[in-house]
Amino acid sequence: MRIIIIGGGEVGFALSRELSRDHGISVVDTDASVRERFENLDVEFLSGSGTSAETLKRAHVDESDLFIACTGLDEVNMVSCAIAKGLGTPRTICFVSRDDFAGTDGGVESIRQHFGIERIIWPEAQLAEEIERIIAAPGAIDAEVFAGGRIRLLEFRLDAGSPLTTAALAALRLPKGALIVAVKRRDAIEIPRGDTRLSAGDKIFLMGTPEAVGQVVPQIHGVQQKQRAQLVTIIGGGDVGFRLAQRLDAASGVELRVIESDPRRGELLAATLRRALVLKGDGTDLELLESEDIGRSDVLVSVIDNDEKNLFASLLGRSLGVKRIITRVSRPANLRLFERVGIDVALSARGAAVGSIVHQIQGGRAHLLAVLEEGQATIVEIAVPPAFRPRALMDMQPPPQSIVGAILRGNDVVIPRGPDQVRPQDRLIVFAAAQSVAAVRDYFGTT
């Protein structure tokens, strides 16, 4: 496949590195000094503007199969997609970072028509949504939703007193509609069976319908947690922080504080948010954090656009006693480091966006939904071919280290047990360890 990437920044580089082994990549950037970074990769680097038809012709846009615009400027991205479409590229992906365009009448559909953009990726918005999901599941370390919210995946660490550690899984009688798809013990992922017995310190992955999952959550922690508003502190009111604050401000059961250093931005936040308390100051100012008693927060979200400051603010929060800390990481390379020094959840907006594009290109029939535990496990969605012979799950031998977590059949969601059948045209939500993804794809993808 021939792919043209406009913009040699963080996203452009990550995409090139992931895709250059199997595909022909041309990177276009106005800044010639970026070229150095790409010299170790097998890519063509063109210096010039993505909005110049002449530059795009030099990159042979008419012979390309995919066009990705990921500069830091929304307008440049949109215009270059429109020009490339006019010059004959079949598919375009456009990165945006502001909501100016998402708000237009007709939404994504109108943007597609007017600018010839097939897919809009808005990493900051996706990140804000993801952080909100994690906050909305108190006690959970991580949370994902699939199938438009009809299926939920939560990650928990079991405490010593948890009722789930009292018996083997089969004897726990979890409600129908909820399934423990995996257990992580001592860095190894394991698919539990009926006779598996959970123990304190295990990380469990719980999948199911929102109702059923809601019934299980109280059983995970032994002591009944009293229902009070979660105190959430957001450090940084930029694109991600503002969006997240808007969503949490509207949610009940959340008491919100936002710390922003730019006075004008702070005024905008205070004007827009209805309930939240906006504080003017630096998130790394210990005196401010102490006088506002930030240590009392249930969740601290640090989303400044600067990894060093984020890390520092998060560590200050940890030392003040904040229970859960979610931090934005701009450079995907820092992800592991952050989690190693004690940040509960480190998230990279661009990293997730890059992952989803790579998967879109290489995935085929299977569609990647989420990557868990730094790539040790994935959630994939697989379309069962029309010629598939219907069989009950217990009669099938799927690859090891994988489990069908949910079956989407039309508008129905089935959280399967042994006797449930897999039928043609079903879509399966499968949890699989990284090494078995390919095998899972082959197994369910063939008749």
């Binding site: 922003e260 006075p263 702070g266 005024e267 936040l269 205070a270 004007a271 209805r274 308390l277 906006v278 504080l279 003017k280 100051g281 401010l288 006088s291 506002e292």
Partner: protein
């Protein structure tokens, strides 16, 4: 300030105001009160004539300066009240009482200096109602609506007179806005006339009372106000229309245009409804010894709370005789007033809402010194200068109230009379307690007190700063009007 320009503009208003004096002349003619016919016709002719003389140096009003706008508005209200007072003098009031009565009418206060209603003809009471009705939506607004060539100047005048710190225009052109508001106002008045006649009130009384209700005025042709009709249905109808008169007319207009959410979405209206609800509940509890029957008690509580809050000043009972805790509720309501853009007077609910929020935010600021805490109304941030204007308004309001109270009590009134007479006049409410209660009158006060209270009504109606700004010496540095350079 160009005096000639100001005088000629006021003269234009006076000419048209003269025409309004013909309406009571017709009523007097119908009822055969010949002395009053001549009084009204003569006053009308006089007003037109004086207006014509003032108009002698005719100036186009297209580059009005701010100070001239204020002077025109304040001067018009003062001069028109003098013109309106002439028939009262003919009818037997002394000049000070007559100007008090006409200012009370135009500013929709409803405080009276008439000792015995039997001394006056029906035309006179009709004229009191007409002054209410013209003043209720604002004389300038009326002129802006009907006079074709007021031009750009009309816009400044309209807002200098407008009630409350809002500038919600319904249409891009100020003339259309003024017309729309007057149409709603006239329509509601007609509706109340029909309703009152339907429950058995005579047509003449229905018209007078309806005009006094929609204007949030309070002059009734009956000496005992609404109480005198002994008609509970009429009282309920009046309660509903008083409540409507105390709400923002722009919201009435938008509701009639099909925006059904206009009222419930408006924060000031919600506060208005909440204040009415709480005060009615309090009165229902406190009035148990006064009115044993529950349905009567609810009606009187609602009538009196809404009448005082909207600054109408009608009475369904002699509330000056109520127990102290009930009177305290009414006294508190006197300091709140109606909604901005309504016919009601007082400091306006929106200002009180803003002051309350500002105060509460200061409490929060003590705890969070680094917090960004803007005052918001309807989801939007209130700019600092608007907030400062509101606070300054309220300070001046209290200052005028205190000054008036001191003077009125210095000239012999007891404390309750002095306090309630001052707030009732400054807030354009009408009756107070004790000597100036709803069944009493202001005639026995010292003449100096009456002059001060007349000024208080004027200052209160024009929202204090419009008038007080004219005290500044630079206002009176006159500059000659020059023909524009072409």
């Amino acid at each position: 300030m160009r005096i000639a320009l100001v005088l000629s503009t006021i003269g234009a208003f006076l000419r048209y105001f003269g025409l309004a004096l013909l309406a009571p002349a017709l009523v007097s003619l119908y009822y055969g009160e010949h002395r009053d016919v001549i009084a009204f016709a003569g006053s009308a002719a006089g007003a037109v004539l004086v207006g014509q003389v003032m108009r002698y140096r005719r100036e186009p009003v297209h580059d009005l300066r701010r100070v001239e706008g204020l002077a025109i508005v304040a001067g018009s209200w003062m001069l028109l009240s003098w013109a309106a007072a002439v028939p009262f003098v003919v009818a037997g009031l002394n000049p000070i009482d007559a100007v008090f009565e006409s200012m009370s009418g135009l500013t929709t206060t409803g405080a009276t200096t008439m000792r015995d209603f039997a001394d006056f003809g029906r035309g006179v009471f009709f004229w009191r109602a007409v002054t209410h009705w013209i003043g209720g939506m604002g004389v300038i607004a009326l002129f802006v609506a009907v006079l074709p060539r007021l031009g750009i100047g009309g816009r400044q005048l309209f807002f200098a007179e407008a009630a409350g710190p809002t500038d919600d225009k319904l249409t891009p052109q100020i003339r259309d806005t003024a017309q729309a508001l007057w149409v709603v106002y006239a329509g509601l008045t007609a509706a109340q006339v029909v309703a009152l006649v339907a429950v058995g009130m005579p047509l003449y009384d229905s018209v007078c009372n309806a005009m006094a209700t929609l204007a949030a005025g309070g002059f009734s042709p009956h000496a005992q106000s609404l109480m005198g009709y002994r008609n509970p249905a009429a009282e309920w109808i009046t309660i509903i229309f008083m409540f409507a008169a105390g709400a923002n007319f722009a919201l009435h207009y938008r509701t009639l245009r099909g925006e059904l959410h206009a009222f419930p979405r408006d924060e000031e209206f919600r506060a208005y409804a909440g204040i009415v609800l709480v005060s009615v509940l309090l009165l229902v509890v406190f009035l148990r010894p006064e009115v044993p029957d529950l349905t009567d008690r609810v009606r009187h509580a609602a009538f009196q709370a809404i009448s005082i809050l909207t600054t109408t000043g009608f009475a369904s009972m002699d509330f000056a005789l109520w127990n102290d805790q009930s009177k305290m509720v009414l006294l508190a309501l006197m300091f709140i007033g109606g909604c901005a853009g309504s016919a009601g007077g007082g400091p306006k609910i929106v200002r009180q809402v803003l002051i309350a929020r500002y105060t509460l935010l200061e409490l929060r600021r003590v705890l969070h010194p680094r917090g960004v805490l803007p005052v918001k109304l309807g989801g939007r941030v209130v700019p600092d200068d608007v907030m400062r204007g509101v606070l300054v308004f309220f300070l001046f309001y209290l200052l005028v109230f205190a000054a008036s109270t001191l003077i009125v009590s210095a000239f012999g009134a007891d404390i309750v009379t002095a306090i309630t007479a001052s707030i009732a006049c400054l807030g354009n409410i009408g009756p107070g307690f004790n000597a100036v209660g709803p069944m009493g009158h202001f005639a026995d006060l010292h003449p100096v007190s009456k002059v001060v209270l007349t000024l208080a009504m004027w200052i209160g109606r024009l929202e204090v700063l419009t008038v007080l700004a004219l005290v500044r010496p630079e206002v009176w540095q006159t500059s000659r009007w020059r023909r524009p350079v072409r």
